[in-house]
Amino acid sequence: MPSTGDYTASELLAVMSSRLLEDGQIVFAGVGIPLLAATLAQGLHCPSLTILFEGGVIGPVIEPGKLPPSTNEQRCTIHANMVLGSTDVLLLLQRGYVDVGFMGGAQIDQHGNLNSSFIGDPARPKTRLPGTGGGNDIASLAQMIVAMKHEKRRFVENVDFVTSPGFLRGGNSRRDSGLPAGGMYRVVTDLGIFGFDDETKRMKILALHAGITVAQVQENTGFQLAAAPDMGVTEAPTDRELEFLRRLDPDRLYTA
């Protein structure tokens, strides 16, 4: 039996982001924390949540202990309602079928732009990262939840490279670039839950996890973070949530 307070940062991320999902939604989930969190939500409070995977899967059933190593492998298809082409599943985003895109992130900025392409100058990069995959498509076409570790090097004022668009340069710049739908909805970290100002589209603190202070968050963030006036404190992961998670990922593939 886990006791409250006894969980990893990854478990915290999974639990907190799972609570943001609502029953009946269609969620386009990446592998890792998003997959775990969506499955957790489905198991506990969203029985009719539908999960989509980029490999081309609609409505799979993730079996405890049999987590897929990517969203492009046959394990993702077990007991699914439909298996279709990768382009076709991505087009569901464009057609407007998807309520929430749910991804991890390597680097994010004040406007919710994500970088998974380059560290340093893209012309002569220090590090060539893997690239966008479907991330750009998901972030361009759906409301987004991003789950990631909160570190200063990951929360930067402006990303070196906008791989997956948040609100671009803030204000209406996203809409004006040809992206009228979707946008960053929530960023979930091991320190708190973040949203975006309706007008400026800058990131703001919505809630902090128990025991975390604004100063701590600011210290780990490369730009100035406003706090929502009604900023709250999240409820710690419950035993029920943690038990479910640990049954799901007994080998701690994604929750170590």
Binding site: E73, L91, Q94, R128, T132
Partner: protein, 318 residues
């Protein structure tokens, strides 16, 4: 990669013998159909249905300056870069897989400038093959807009839609010289069935000027004709059929086997430790060394293969 004119594109199809004829050959013979400098579309995605045996044969044939296009690129991309076969990658993502993290081989070759990495979104890769399959010069889409991924790709063009006024991105057709695709089964003519995840393979097959199929097994044309709505690639798109059981190892083939994880662990540790010497050691031992693909499989070990097959079956029977 200058796109050919529409008439040239058509001519490349009509020059081929597209009659219903047997085209079963060896990996070596099939490799000779790929020329240095070709644009090669690679089927499957990440660790799934990767045409590993065919890529292995191309490296042994010492192909050079290939441009390789795939939706999601994994360790087969390492092989192509590390062997010198490929100097340009067109993809949305290049890593060894989430379990092993970012490819140090990719990093070494791309960061040094030796290899060009053209990044598109996954849907853009799909649209580019789809445009190629449809015989149109572009398709419109609504992602990549506003991002730096788009800014790095002047080959794509923004457009204000004449119908709606919406801003759209037009992505150019990608018609590879050849597509390498692995399937669960096909007949001797190249009529192919694919189980499970299809990825971008159907559009890729129809976009390419010709397809080299590797297959877990060759079935009779009678079997194909019994369920023609299960045929996913028509024979006339196909130029070569090679029967290669375990042709995706150490990657997976849906319903047949899962990845050979032990070998992936060994491989990634070796090449990430030293992307040049480690890769050379791997290539010498596993690609240039074996007398045949079966010998390569022997190096992976029968036990590991049977375990992968047991896991593959258990997934499809779940």
């Amino acid at each position: 990669m200058m796109s050919p004119s529409y008439l040239d594109l058509r001519r490349r199809l009509t020059e081929r013998d597209r009659s219903l004829r047997e085209k079963v050959m060896s990996l070596t013979e099939a490799a000779s159909l790929v020329k240095d400098g070709d644009t090669v579309g690679i089927g499957g995605s990440t660790l799934s249905r990767t045409p590993m045996a065919m890529i292995w044969a191309l490296i042994r044939a010492r192909r050079k300056t290939l441009t390789c296009a795939r939706g999601i690129t994994s360790s087969e991309g390492d092989w192509l870069l590390g062997s010198g076969a490929c100097d340009r990658v067109v993809t949305s993502w290049f890593s060894q897989g989430i379990v092993w993290g970012i490819s140090k081989v990719m990093r070494y070759y791309v960061e040094s400038g030796a290899v060009r990495f053209d990044e598109w979104s996954h849907m853009a890769m799909g649209m580019r093959f789809k445009a190629g399959a449809m015989g149109v010069p572009f398709l419109p889409m609504r992602s990549m807009l506003g991002s730096d991924v788009m800014r790095q790709r002047p080959e794509a063009r923004e457009m204000d839609c004449p119908f709606s006024g919406d801003r759209l991105l037009l992505v150019p057709a990608l018609n590879p010289d050849v597509a390498l695709i692995h399937v669960q089964r096909c007949d001797a003519y190249g009529n192919a069935q694919i189980d499970g995840l299809q990825f971008l393979d159907i559009d890729l097959a129809m976009a390419a000027n010709r397809v080299i199929l590797t297959t877990e097994r060759i079935i009779s044309n009678d079997q194909i004709r019994r369920a023609p709505d299960q045929t996913k690639i028509p024979f006339f798109a196909v130029e070569a059929v090679v029967e290669v059981p375990f042709g995706c190892a150490p990657h997976e083939c849906s319903g047949a086997y899962e990845p050979v994880y032990e070998h992936m662990d060994y491989y990634t540790a070796l090449v990430n430790n030293n992307p040049v010497d480690g890769m050379q050691e791997y290539l010498d031992r596993y690609v240039y060394g074996p007398a045949s693909w079966v010998d390569y499989l022997n190096l992976l070990g029968l036990n590991a293969l049977l375990d992968a097959a047991r896991r593959g079956r258990s997934v499809s029977n779940a």
